[in-house]
Amino acid sequence: MKNLKLFLITITIITMNSCDNDDPVATTGSIRFDFTHNWDGDNVTTDDFNIIQFTNANGDPMSVSKLRYLISNIFLHKADGSSIAIDGYLLVDLSTQSTFAFVSNIPFDTYTSISFTFGFNEADNTDGFYSDLNAASWNWPEMLGGGYHFMQLEGKYLDTTVEKPYAYHMGTARVSPGVFEANHFEISIDGFTHANDAVIEIKMNIAEWFKNPYTWDLEVYNTTLMPNYDAQILMNQNGDSVFSLGEVN
């Protein structure tokens, strides 16, 4: 499986070569998937980091100081039940502006939905397998099932007047020592009609991680959540509603 960031370069070269043929009718085009982030509709960038300016569903004022997450295996689904598989993964990291994946040669068609995996599925979540993710220390401890983090969302929250840290880290759930449960989930969002080279915005509402269906109480779940089975499962459930299709250009 490829890192989608690296995929960009090879595909671009192939595309340029194919242009030399003066192909009269293009039947495919590129897509750039742009991951953007908001708090209930207000755009969030690194400029907003470290400022306690958000209020979660539980009523706690909070900040974000880090947001990194892994997505993999994007599929574009058609009405007839078939789909285009975009093999690869992307570590989205707001602090490095690594927030998009570029793919080429996607057939022009109407796609009824986009799906992708949040994290890695069990087959892909092989401990130590991805050199770029290892280099980013994105690994999930072996004692918790190994493989990789799916998300690191960190910041502070205000407990009346005291700032306290939280580290909403998601990955494989440990049921008990030596017993683990896969914790990735599939996201499905609206589709689009692909007729030209396109930029497709995929929006993450960060507030949803703290809202739906579980109203996240940071006084209960703040740090040391990696080995906390209940917290891991609640993250999985709350993750279902965080993504949606944004603008298509």
Partner: protein, 350 residues
Amino acid sequence: MVVGFLFSSCGENEIVLPNTYEPTPLPLKIPPLFAEKILDPVIPFNNPQTVEGVALGRKLFYDPILSGDGSQSCSDCHAPENAFTDADRFSVGIDGDIGNRNSMPIFNQAWNYDENFFWDGRSFGLEGQALEPVKNPIEMHNTWVNAMASLQSHTDYPDLFFQAFGTSTIDSSLVTKAIAQFERTLISGNSRFDKHLLGTLTLTPQELNGFDIFMDETKGDCFHCHGNANNPLWTDNIFHNNGLDAVITDIGLGAVTGNPADNGKFKSPSIRNLQFTAPYMHDGRFATIDEVINHYSEGLQNSPTIDPLMKAIATGGVQLTNDEKEALKAFLLSLSDSEFINNPNFQNPN
């Protein structure tokens, strides 16, 4: 082969054909775990590793000719026996001045992918970093104009620069390229823990227990910043406020970015070779590994920019028992690489 033939056939006329001269490529000796686990090292396209460039860089690294009064070399504050850092808390410059930061160790720097160097990340690239100490008034206190003139009038250096770069006209860019080439060869990857991972050595139960404490989010929780068995760098090379002070006087990264949210952040150093790199922290405040562990266990100080990963701030730290501290230290020391500090290729050639 062809290059060598051309060069020798030209005899004394090699300067007539400077464009045909090519120094000898010298690939980095990449340890097996590095090759297997992480991305390739960063080598600038305009500064490939060569036999002649590395040899020149090594000579320059150990030569006091770069300093204002010819008394101090890079190695005075970056000594091989200390994994290329300074055993003194603050290094003393040629005029007797001292700074406010501890000299950084130098190894595995080609794998600093973001290429932000110094504790506060103010220089980009190893070549960029090497420009700084020569002209810093409290360090080598020279000017590059003067340093280049000293090298140009030296009996050996113009020839050595020709061999390394195909020109005997010396400038600061070539000096720092040579030093950076030497620094990229300073690779440490053969500690007891590396051998354990390669299956050629069995660690003690205490060392293994220490590694578990390192990796356990309910115990040491060190891995978020200091790597893991799949990251042989043992650092994220990212900047953090690790809770040293309630009132921050040296703002670190914040002075570089101008962002108050970065105040008090310094780069995570690698935890390889701690046996040789005391004292610890950006200001060398801790003389021993025990003091470092005690800091994370009980000594955390809160401040507005403290990293959320310093999660146990409310209780002052992660509260390790004495046995856990000893085990953690045993693990940390298993990352000592004495072969690295004694490597004859890294010692003073002058």
